[in-house]
């Protein structure tokens, strides 16, 4: 199966054979990929019934739980890497989930749509909320309540005492090298506790 672009980037930052926690793991695609190609073990957390079933079918260990109620179930430092892909922007409590990620894991990786993409500015200049392939929701019907730009995320990470070790700003799966804050559609960060 073809991996989503941000998941390809995430997988490239994960070493072989380590323990992973994937928050909001969906159908378990990333965990199955990491298991099959990198011998990683771990668990997914997912709230949606259909996704939990899909994980079971993919033979991915999944725990049905609401991320908003925290990661109390997990002890400190249990995982090498904790992943939160395309979910941060839909979380109520962004700060606490980021803190929890580096509590239960040595490192955290997040990916999120870049709200600072130039096309969004155009949409706003035209008087409309942006609707794009990466943020495909109408304003009145969106799970995304905490959209941000790369710079926004970096400021928050600094405030929370997170040290960003790697950053990838992607458009169509390729790294963007100039005007990346405006041209990237997806941002991926790896970080650890300072």
């Amino acid at each position: 199966m073809k991996l989503r672009h941000d998941l390809v980037q995430i997988a490239s930052w994960i070493e072989s054979g380590v323990r992973i926690l994937d928050l909001g793991c969906g159908d378990g695609t990333l965990l199955a990929h990491l298991r099959d190609s990198q011998r990683c073990t771990g668990y997914g957390i997912e709230i949606d019934d259909a996704s939990v079933l899909a994980c079971a079918r993919a033979d991915v260990s999944v725990v049905q739980a609401d991320l908003e109620s925290g990661l109390r179930m997990f002890a400190d430092g249990m995982f090498d890497t904790v992943v939160l892909s395309q979910t941060l922007q839909a979380m109520h409590n962004v700060e606490s989930v980021l803190r929890e990620m580096v509590r239960v894991g040595r490192r955290g990786i997040v990916s999120f749509p870049n709200f600072g993409h130039w096309s969004h500015a155009i949409a706003l200049l035209r008087g409309r909320m942006p609707v794009t392939p990466d943020i495909p929701y109408q304003w009145y019907d969106t799970p995304n309540i905490h959209l941000c730009t790369p710079k926004d995320f970096e400021l928050l990470a600094a405030r929370l005492g997170l040290r960003i070790t790697d950053r990838a700003l992607l458009a169509r799966g390729q790294p963007v090298t100039w005007l990346e804050d405006l041209r990237a559609t997806v941002a991926v960060y790896r970080f650890e506790k300072r």
């Binding site: 019934d49 079933l53 994980c55 079971a56 079918r57 725990v63 739980a65 997990f74």
Partner: protein
């Protein structure tokens, strides 16, 4: 099992129980000994050549070895988990050799308080030793020995049955590949024990109880047993479920200003209690509720469930139901957390079903699809080809 008639679709068809005598004495957790005992059990499906596809179904309080299918000439004798076990069902008998066994102390054919004590020639009655979940698992392991099964593909159970599945993983880690524990708990709460004590007190204060030796008096503490069942039954249902089913509906046109079964819910509970007291044994009720009370694998580890589960090496599937207040999802989450702390492979689903504790016995597409998917993976691990062979994907 021998089948005489072609079975209806999805059913294992006509089944017959088997009996086996075990003469080696069994030392129980209490220190007491059972000199010998009989086990009644049923099997469905076929044990494969390398004897690796056996699935043990552990029963809860009032169920038995009769998990699936029907008895000849008794069309209403369908097994208690027939919606889960059968050809094309989540636990597919075309793939797995499924074993149901009546636990000792119960009253459906295995040695229990109603059985004659060979040493006295009279029913055990009150003298039947208190048995624990661990004792039952030891007995079940002996049955597996007798059937030539070294390692179970899975032990499965709901409620008290889930405790047995869990205990299998702790007591016989090398003999169980998968543990499927549903609507269960690592220990009863004070509230749970309190309900059990009220039930037992109802039985023991019935004048027909005779200290547990009512068999000799030719009576049964029917009223006490009936009240015990009524109390239990309330705890199996959710409050919302009861409201939906009965509300405040009256069976009479208006209040009768008496104490008869005026409300629908009273009539229902009394009927359930009466029905139960006709087929269940009061001493068995005492024994089994005590086994529930005593189950606490962390007790020997200063309450540390993580340590208690350390020996367990099986893969786990745990399922709880959102409206189950008897064994609430939070209790199952404790088990999940302890297994994760031990680095075990575990999946956990919390099914948002409205039916309380009873949900584990009922049809629910999400629940059954998940168990089907899990057993599909077990089948693949045993060397089978994946993707259910029709019908098992979305049971409705």
């Amino acid at each position: 099992m021998t089948r005489s008639a072609p079975e209806p679709a999805g059913s294992v068809g006509e089944v017959r129980p088997c009996d086996r005598h075990f003469s080696a004495p069994l030392t129980l957790a209490s220190g007491a000994q059972l000199a010998g005992y009989d086990l009644r059990y049923e099997t469905y499906g076929t044990l494969n050549a390398d004897r690796s596809n056996a699935v043990l179904i552990c029963h809860a309080l009032n169920a038995s070895h009769h998990v699936a299918g029907t008895y000849a000439g008794q069309p209403r004798s369908t097994g208690w988990w027939d919606n889960m076990v059968g050809p094309g069902k989540p636990i597919d008998t075309r793939r797995f050799f499924v074993i149901g066994v009546n636990n000792p102390g119960s009253c459906f054919g295995s040695t229990g308080p109603m059985s004659v004590n060979p040493q006295t020639g009279r029913p055990y009655g009150a003298s039947f030793p208190v048995v624990t979940v661990e004792d039952w698992v030891n007995v079940q392991a002996r049955l597996c020995d007798a059937l030539g099964i070294e390692r179970l593909a899975a032990a499965v159970g709901g409620s008290l049955g889930g405790m047995q599945a869990l205990s299998w993983a702790i007591q016989y880690p090398q003999r169980i590949a998968h543990c499927v524990a549903i609507a269960t708990t690592p220990r009863l709460s004070a509230q749970n024990i309190a309900f059990n004590d009220v039930a037992r007190t109802a039985i023991r204060s019935d004048p027909d109880f005779h200290g547990g030796d009512y068999y000799a008096h030719g009576v049964v503490p029917r009223r006490g047993l009936s009240v015990a069942r009524m109390i239990g039954h309330i705890t199996y249902l959710s409050g919302d479920d009861m409201t939906e089913r009965f509300g405040r509906s009256l069976r009479t046109a208006d209040y009768a200003f008496g104490y008869g079964a005026e409300f629908e819910v009273e009539s229902y509970l009394r009927y359930q209690g009466d029905k139960f007291s006709e087929y269940f044994d009061a001493n068995t009720y005492l024994l089994i509720t005590r086994a529930l009370d005593y189950f606490d694998p962390a007790r020997g580890c200063e309450g540390d469930l993580v340590r208690a589960l350390q020996p367990a090496t099986a893969r786990f599937l745990l399922v709880s139901f959102a409206t189950d207040w008897r064994f609430a999802p939070a209790r199952t989450r404790e088990i999940v957390a302890a297994l994760i702390a031990n680095g075990r492979e575990v999946s956990y689903a919390e099914i948002d079903a409205p039916h309380g504790h009873d949900a584990f016995l009922l049809d629910d597409a999400r629940y059954h699809s998940l168990v089907a998917a899990y057993f599909d993976r077990i089948h693949v691990r045993l060397g089978g080809t994946g993707a259910p062979a029709g019908g098992a994907e979305e049971p409705r």
